[in-house]
Amino acid sequence: MATLSDTTGKQYAVRDPDVRFMLRVQQDDDPGAFAHLMETYQGRVLALLEHLLGDPELAEDLTQETFLRVYRSRKTYLPSAKFSTWLFTIVNNLALNAARSRGRRREVAIEGRDSGPLGARPLEQLAQVTSGQLPARQLEKAELRDMVRHAVEALGERQRMAMLLNKFEQMSYADIGEVMGMSPMAIKSLLSRARSNLREILEPYMNADDRRR
């Protein structure tokens, strides 16, 4: 008789082709299946980690570490969720650990010093700065991209993670909650605050864009 987890696993295996690839890696150490998973997700994991950590080199290291962990834990893998949910849970854990250890180092390094042009400023301050800097001339796309990047960096880690998963992975609140170990209601609130914060910072640029049109 099939247990509940067997049934759930089969459901995911039927619905999610990447679960089937992962099961092939698990059962046969199939290098082709693993390469397929890497090709499918590597760029997405790297982009998410870059936006999350703002450090391309660290993002590459953690991307590699993510897939090494996937491979190492293949024998204990249980298809209890979509493959992407499981994968991004690993990414989230790695990113949180990296951010924590980096935060500890930074606390010592920047004590008593200015944290740089747009680094680690409260949202209100960042909004005032960006608003004050608003040039009369048209904003170039590259400048706007920089402002968006700074606005994302100004969000808290959890808001940023939830926002990136929602925006770029099109994950539902339930899946994001599973990745981040939070309830869908908490994710709903987190994403609402993230969007409000982004709006607060970027609104002057949207107005400038309107005037330009």
């Binding site: 290098p31 936006h51 991307t63 990047r149 929602n166 609140y173 709006r199 970027l202």
Partner: protein
């Protein structure tokens, strides 16, 4: 004149969830009714949606070509030498093991020394037990006063216990 006051947090949450397609049908209809009747809500939705669209400007570079190959090489290496992936852990364990071995040796030497002292040197209570027959008869032995005489009594199996106790008169003398 449009209402510029910000929406309450719970209403904004509903609008964001509406944009994300996360609301049940009934809730979605309620939000749509709110949007139809509120200029502020419509503006809010517009701004939230446009902010979200701006995120598309974030750069998304392709992973460097060698990243896949590096990862696969490492996996191949780990498959050939399964212990290697724990390299870092292993190094720390080895370092820790070296220190632990030193500490263990010191502790073992200290324990051995303590045991040896305990084995060869009787404890104070053991010493007292050994000396108990002498201590019990000390008064008599002191009265005899001569070691040779005591030895002669011992060799003759003379029971010291049977010696008459000192009388009060004797003590007075």
């Amino acid at each position: 004149m449009p209402d510029e006051s910000p929406l309450p947090a719970d209403q904004r949450e509903q609008l964001v969830a509406y944009l994300d397609g996360e609301l049940a049908e009934e809730e979605a209809r309620r939000v749509e009714r709110q949007l139809a009747g509120s200029e502020a809500a419509r503006r809010e939705v517009q701004f939230l949606a446009r902010t979200w669209d701006l995120l598309d400007l974030l750069p998304r570079r392709q992973p460097p070509g060698e990243l896949t190959e590096q990862t696969l090489s490492q996996i191949r290496a780990e498959s050939l030498h399964p212990g290697d992936w724990r390299g870092r852990v292993g190094r720390w364990a080895r370092r820790g093991g070296f220190v632990a071995a030193w500490a263990g040796s010191l502790a073992a030497a200290a324990a051995l020394g303590f045991a040896a002292v305990r084995a060869f040197r009787p404890s104070p209570s053991e010493q007292l037990l050994n000396d108990l027959p002498v201590i019990e008869n000390l008064t008599e032995y002191q009265e005899i006063g001569s070691y040779e005489f005591l030895r002669a009594l011992y060799e003759a199996d003379f029971p010291l216990e049977e010696m008459p106790p000192e009388s009060a008169d004797d003590q007075d003398v």
